[in-house]
């Protein structure tokens, strides 16, 4: 299984949003199976994910996934990458479960009938055939999260980007989703501010104010991160909240 995961290259990539540099000259090569991106609120994690996914272009430098530019070559990006957004309500676009699930398939070239059949199969294999016609607004938060994951998996991407996939979910749901993630054969890039989520990663990047400040195995990066967070947390007078 060596070298079967997509090769993601960032070369000196800089992103400026609203006149402010949010990511600074990032250069990394990612090809591990389980990659974690760790950092505080506002450190640039979501921006990093949007950059990888080709939803924004770098203002300087370049991004390449197996050689293609995900911002310009949307077809390759869509075929290869799936994204689970931080908030399922920012991801769901359709009023019913079936429409939501079939959309990506049709965009990728399937006929509507073929897509519907595929959706039915997928729902059946998860024991949720009765969901097909259900309005998404009647699903609970955890159920909507699950729906988004199903929509991503249906597209069979080679790489899945997860933005705070467990935030706001209760503990049993977290446990189950974690197991589900662990069983996926794909390359997973997980964004989080909680080091506990990344114990099983192959590689962890720690972002701070738009820069990679540490990069290595969890056994090296996580303890350093935890110690630093504890140190900042103990300081009084929220110095860096003062912005």
């Amino acid at each position: 299984m060596t070298k079967s995961f997509p090769l993601i290259l960032l070369d000196d990539a800089t992103v400026t949003l609203g006149g402010r540099a949010v990511l600074h000259e990032i250069t990394v090569t990612l090809s591990e199976r389980r990659i974690g991106i760790l950092g505080r609120n506002g450190s640039g994690k979501t921006t990093f994910l949007r950059l990888l996914a080709g939803l924004i272009a770098p203002n300087a430098g370049s991004v390449r996934i197996d050689g293609f530019d995900p911002f310009l070559d949307r077809r390759s990006a869509l075929a290869g990458l799936g994204i689970l957004f931080q908030n399922p309500d920012h991801q769901i676009l359709f009023p019913t479960v079936e429409e939501e699930l079939s959309f990506g398939l049709v965009q990728a070239g399937a006929s509507q009938a073929g897509a519907n059949a595929q959706v039915q199969d997928a729902l059946a294999s998860e024991g949720r055939s009765h969901w097909a016609r259900r309005p998404v607004s009647t699903l609970s938060q955890g159920q909507r999260h699950y729906l988004c994951l199903m929509a991503v998996l249906l597209m069979q991407p080679r790489t899945i980007l997860l933005d705070e996939p467990l935030a706001g979910l209760d503990l049993p749901t977290q446990a189950r989703l974690s197991r589900r993630f662990a069983g996926l054969p794909q390359q997973l890039i997980t964004i989080t501010h909680d080091p506990a989520t990344l114990a099983d990663a192959d590689r962890v990047l720690w972002l701070e104010a738009g820069r990679v400040v540490a990069d290595g195995t969890p056994s090296v990066v996580l303890p350093a991160f935890t110690a630093e967070m504890a140190r900042i947390g103990e300081q009084d007078a929220d110095a860096d909240l003062a912005g």
Binding site: R50, L55, R74, F85, H90, I92, F94, P95
Partner: protein
């Protein structure tokens, strides 16, 4: 989302939407050229028969859909009693009530998805101007998805206001509500791009 399509299946549900719309267009055009009272009455009677053909429940639902017209009927009657031109008034009323009833009949017997297919067909000539039929269908789905989302948001905004003020927010919910619509639009645009684009 609730639609106005009647859950009571009638024979008219099985007629293709395109034909019903064509017939409606012809009937409405005809109606507005008619001024002969007995002819108008005959058309109205035909409309009533049409509604009754769907059964009691269906006909009552059709009647309910005409209810919002009552103030208009009242004002026309008063006006024409005043000007002593009751025949003129009756012609206007018959024409309008019949036209609305026929249009409602088509709406009640046509599923939303069929109607949208006709819309896409009608909009097909606009494709070169940047409106491919698929994009229209996508826009329709987005509206239906986001109406309940915005209603939820409105509740949250109202509660946030009520948690800090004894007065009702009234029009002031508009600013945060419009803001939420703009932010949701930005998020949905990104999700759309992440999942295959606007077609």
């Amino acid at each position: 989302m609730l639609t106005l399509t009647s859950p009571v299946e009638t024979w008219a549900h099985r007629i293709p939407a395109g034909w019903k719309l064509l017939a409606l267009a012809a009937a409405t055009t005809g109606l507005f050229t008619l001024t002969f009272l007995p002819a108008l009455t005959a058309v109205l009677a035909a409309g009533v028969v049409l509604c009754l053909s769907g059964g009691r429940t269906f006909a009552l639902a059709a009647l309910r859909l005409l209810w919002p017209l009552w103030p208009f009927i009242a004002v026309i009657l008063v006006w024409h009693l005043w000007t002593r031109d009751l025949t003129g008034g009756t012609v206007i009323l018959l024409r309008l009530v019949t036209a609305v009833a026929l249009a409602n009949f088509v709406t009640m017997t046509t599923r939303l998805s069929d109607m949208i297919t006709v819309l896409q067909w009608l909009a097909a000539p606009l494709a070169p101007l940047g409106l491919p039929p698929r994009r229209l269908a996508l826009a329709v789905a987005l509206v239906i998805r986001f109406i309940p989302v915005m209603l939820d948001r409105l509740t949250q905004i109202t509660e946030s206001w009520s948690a800090r003020s004894p007065r009702r927010p009234r029009w002031r919910v508009l600013v945060p509500a419009t803001l939420a619509a703009l932010d949701d639009a930005d998020h949905a645009a990104e999700a759309l791009r992440a999942r295959g684009g606007a077609g």
